[in-house]
């Protein structure tokens, strides 16, 4: 297996590590870094449970290779509270009953952070569109929209 000298920043910490060049980003995050908050729901980029922020952009970590984050800044659910809207989103998801089984929640919070960071005045339609890459089977979505809306007003 070919090794790659990865250098990146994860949740504000500089990381240098020899990794398998064939390693998926999600496996690097969960297994090598031990950050279990990033979830695998489908393994093919349909459900969004594995979303992380890469240089501020929400990406599905199951569809990327770990080597692709070389030289970049990665934020997972464990580090989101240090970013604008992160903690507010976590709190409002709980307050608005937007969390049920919770398996999709980290991905939704990551996606929502990107929406609000890009446009704090996003309309309801824009919020819905922005969350269209995340599946939730429990909540029927409405409380998630409310949670995102409330988070920016804090």
């Amino acid at each position: 297996m070919k090794k790659f000298p990865l250098s990146c920043e994860i949740n504000g910490k500089k990381i240098k590590k020899e990794i398998d060049s064939s390693l998926r980003l999600i496996d690097f995050i969960r297994e090598d870094m031990g950050l279990k908050g990033t979830k695998e729901g489908c393994g093919e980029g349909e459900c969004g449970a594995c979303m992380v922020l890469l240089d501020g952009k929400a990406v599905n970590s199951c569809l990327m290779m770990a080597v692709q984050i070389h030289g970049k800044k990665l934020v997972t659910i464990e580090g989101i509270h240090e970013h604008k809207y992160g903690k507010e989103l976590q709190d409002s998801f709980v307050k608005e009953a937007a969390v049920q089984c919770g398996f999709c929640t980290p991905g939704f919070i990551i996606a929502a952070q990107e929406i609000l960071a890009k446009n704090p005045k996003a309309s309801l339609e824009e919020i819905k569109e922005g969350l269209a890459g995340n599946l939730c089977r429990c909540t029927g979505y409405e409380n998630i929209f409310k949670a995102v809306d409330k988070a920016r007003k804090k």
Binding site: D27, L35, K36, G37, T38, K39, E40, G41, C42, G43, E44, E46, C47, A49, T76, I77, E78, H81, L89, Q90, D91, F93, V94, K95, A97, V99, Q100, C101, G102, F103, C104, T105, P106, I109, K128, E129, L131, A132, N134, L135, C136, R137, C138, T139, G140, Y141, E142, N143, I144, F145
Partner: protein, 756 residues
């Protein structure tokens, strides 16, 4: 101090497990690990039905990190999963009966290597003839793959004389309906970890709704007594019925492997294999017939209902039974004849899915009632109001409903809120928009067919500092059980909510409490908690009265404090006083449901202890050029007894409605010649954020005297009536009476064009 009746019950308190989930700290099945853990992957049946000749792992042996293969020969206990009919082997010996069935497991040092090794196992097999159509399976001359007649299970309800009564009816209507599979699509796939213990026992960590089913299966597969198997439920990422029975199979596989290699073993499914091999909502076929007099009094109902059970029985007999009991709808009808069958096919075994055999027949029966109304020239809601069950009426099984029945009120609520009486078909270019109605009832708990399991235990332990540990045997899977049960414990003890700790189930800490299904958890575990809390409450209240120097009946308790005049003490102070007197501060609680009955010969009896009710109105727009539908809004009203947590109840309703809508118009699993064609989220389309309708939710709390704080059950009713309401709206909007579900655009368009 508030004047509210309760401190915690009836309040929209935050989820107790909300923050840990939102912060990404909750540990699900695949998030835990153990020293020396190895990983299992399944070798699966590539065809609908095969004779297994040989499995050869010599190629896999060349892979670094490969440990070996596990087949039925490695099963130390009995190769039969103990579940209803006991017909499903843990691992097949000679014959595999459906595409995707686990044939063997391979073990490796990590997940990736295990998957690779599984793909390298060479399988020598002979294809056998198979059957994939449940109606054909029931034909006399069909290929027999299950027993002598391919019938897994069959029931009848006979009340009055339906055939005779139809002859006296002014209007008779009869139609056939079909519904397809529904995939649970819980976001967390099936996952189990088995850890062998030094004393020869085994601990299993399982993502499950039913830890005691897992215990039964692991004990049977390992040949261990129950007290040598401990099941700990991991935080469970959704269930909806899909983690009722099958997690036991996954856990048993992990346990068989763990015993062979004497190491902790993780078995985590990927999405494709979860689709292929785990349970589904049964596809169904139904022929329904209603007869009425010209004033709209329904006099007779006849139903033939067939479920596609798949290759093994699993829960089909119980699913079928629930469908049978509810098949005539929530109406008082003197003459009823219902016959139902679960037929075996060489396809994935179907089982529990939110509604449990009822949504399918509700779709058929509530659609036909609407068509009957049209034929009679009566408003569909008026027709139902004339016939629907109210307190004092009898159901199709002859059960008298003597309390807690809000169906009529629910109907009136949604009628008013949706402005039904003034609503018309709105035409905008090719778009037609209209409202459709449906209503349903739902027997809470396991009922007569599962009554021996309808009991639950609880353990409540109050520490010296006033913090409280509560153990129950029913699970949190996202629905909010931990929160609602904490509210019940806090209320009964008058303990602050923050003092209560309830966690995922550990089978070594609480007696077998049956499955977490059938909307039974609040009712069963809630009552068990109350029973455990009452003697503790007695001690605490006496101590509080003494400390306040008041008579025991003179003090007031509210929100974790006790009051007498201007004096006030805390729950913690009262608990401290109890401990200083060496009073017993821990208790076991036990609740067994009242008896239910069902006469197998005529289907008469008191089938369920109590019923919940729903009424739905769907506001749907249809594009008649494309067949596409937009569900704009669902008006829903429920009677589920007392609402313990309104905010969580609303959240449950939203999720149930959207699952119902997905099944109604978009989710379409394709199985052709026994092979599943779209086992993934790309091709099996689930509702996303932009599909969600607006939800208008109401409750009418008809109290149930045996319920905890007079609650009934909530989990399933929001889903049941949605598909029929959508279908009836489509009919009103563009004049086509659809008879299938999912009503996908292409099919609807064809029906519209055929009618032209």
């Amino acid at each position: 101090m508030s004047k509210d009746l309760f401190s915690f019950v009836g309040k929209s308190l935050e989820r107790v497990d909300g923050a840990v989930k939102a912060e990404g700290k909750a540990l699900y099945g695949d998030d835990i690990s153990f020293p020396n853990m190895i990983y299992a992957a399944a070798v699966r049946n590539p065809k609908p039905r095969i004779e297994i000749r040989k499995m050869d792992d010599s190629l896999a042996k060349k892979i670094k990190g490969y440990f070996g293969i596990v087949s039925f020969k490695d099963i130390k206990g009995k190769n039969s999963w103990p579940l209803v009919m006991n017909d499903y082997p843990f691992l097949p010996e000679k014959e595999a009966k459906f595409y995707g069935e686990t044939l063997a497991l391979v073990l490796a040092e990590n997940q990736r290597t295990a998957k690779k090794a599984a793909a390298c196992v060479r399988l020598d097999y002979k294809e056998l003839p198979f059957i994939d159509d449940p109606l054909k399976a029931l034909e006399k001359k069909s290929l027999k793959i299950y027993g002598k007649d391919n019938i897994i299970s069959s029931f009848k309800i006979i009340k009055g004389d339906a055939d005779k009564a139809f002859k006296d009816c002014d209007v008779v209507i009869e139609k056939e309906f079909r519904t397809n599979y529904q995939v649970h699509a819980y976001l967390e796939t099936q996952t189990a970890t088995a850890v062998p213990e030094p004393d020869g026992s085994i601990t299993v960590y399982s993502s499950t709704q039913c830890p005691f089913y897992v215990l039964d299966a692991v004990a049977a597969a390992c040949g261990l007594p129950n007290n040598k198997v401990k099941v700990i439920q991991t935080v469970t990422g959704g269930g909806f019925g899909g983690k009722e029975d099958v997690p036991a199979l996954v856990a048993a596989h992990a346990a068989i492997c763990a015993l062979k290699f004497n190491r902790p073993v993780r078995l985590a499914y990927d999405r494709k294999e979860d689709f292929m091999s785990m349970s589904k909502r049964h596809p169904s076929w139904a022929r329904v017939k209603y007869g009425a007099d010209k004033n709209g009094k329904i006099k007779a109902c006849k139903v033939k209902y067939v479920l596609d059970g798949g290759a093994y029985a699993t829960l089909s007999p119980i699913v079928l039974w629930r469908g049978t009991v509810h098949a005539a709808g929530p109406y008082k009808i003197e003459n009823v004849f219902i016959e139902t069958y679960a037929a075996a096919t060489n396809k994935v075994p179907c089982g529990a899915y939110r509604g449990f055999g009822q949504p399918q027949i509700c779709f058929a029966q509530e659609s036909l009632i609407d068509d009957l109304a049209e034929k009679l020239g009566i408003d569909p809601i008026d027709l139902r109001l004339k016939n629907m069950i109210q307190s004092g009426d009898k159901t199709a099984t002859g059960q008298k409903i003597d309390e807690s029945c809000g169906l009529k009120e629910l109907t009136e609520i949604v009628r008013k809120k949706s402005r039904w009486d003034k609503s018309e078909v709105k035409i905008n270019g090719d778009k037609r928009r209209a409202l459709g109605f449906s209503c349903a009832y739902y027997g809470v708990g396991l009922g007569a067919k599962g009554r021996y399991l309808d009991r639950a235990g609880a353990f409540v332990n109050i520490y010296r500092d006033g913090s409280v540990q509560v153990n129950v045997g029913n699970t949190e899977m996202g629905q909010g059980a931990l929160t609602v049960l904490s509210q019940i414990a806090a209320e009964t003890l008058n303990a602050p909510m923050k003092n209560i700790k309830l966690a995922e189930v550990d089978t070594s800490k609480v007696p077998d409490s049956g499955p977490t299904v059938a909307s039974r958890t609040t009712l069963m575990s809630g009552n068990a908690i109350i029973e455990a809390c009452l003697p503790l409450r007695e001690n605490i209240f006496s101590a509080a009265a003494e400390l306040l120097k008041a008579g025991k009946n003179k003090i007031t308790a509210y929100g974790g404090f006790f009051y007498f005049g201007k004096k006030k003490i805390s729950f913690e102070e009262a608990v401290k006083e109890c401990w200083s007197k060496r009073l017993k501060m821990s208790e076991q609680g036990w609740y067994a449901a009242p008896n239910t009955t069902f006469d197998i010969n005529n289907g008469q009896g008191n089938a369920y202890v109590i019923y919940s009710y729903s009424a739905d109105i769907a506001d749907v727009e249809v594009d008649i050029k494309t067949g596409e539908k937009t569900v704009h809004k669902i008006y829903a009203a429920y009677d589920v007894g007392r609402i313990i947590n309104p905010k969580l109840a609303h959240a449950q309703a939203h999720g149930g409605i959207l699952q119902g809508m997905g099944w109604a118009i978009m989710e379409n699993l394709i199985v052709k010649d026994g092979i599943m064609k779209n086992p993934n989220f790309t091709d099996y389309v689930l509702p996303i954020s932009t599909d969600a309708p607006q939800y208008d939710i109401s409750f009418s709390e008809k109290l149930y005297k045996h319920g905890p704080y007079k609650a009934k059950g909530m989990g399933e009713v929001p889903l049941i009536g949605v598909a029929a309401a959508v279908r009836n709206a489509v009919k009103r909007a563009c004049g086509v009476s659809l008879t299938y579900c999912p009503m996908i655009s292409e099919k609807t368009l064809k029906t519209i064009n055929d009618k032209k």
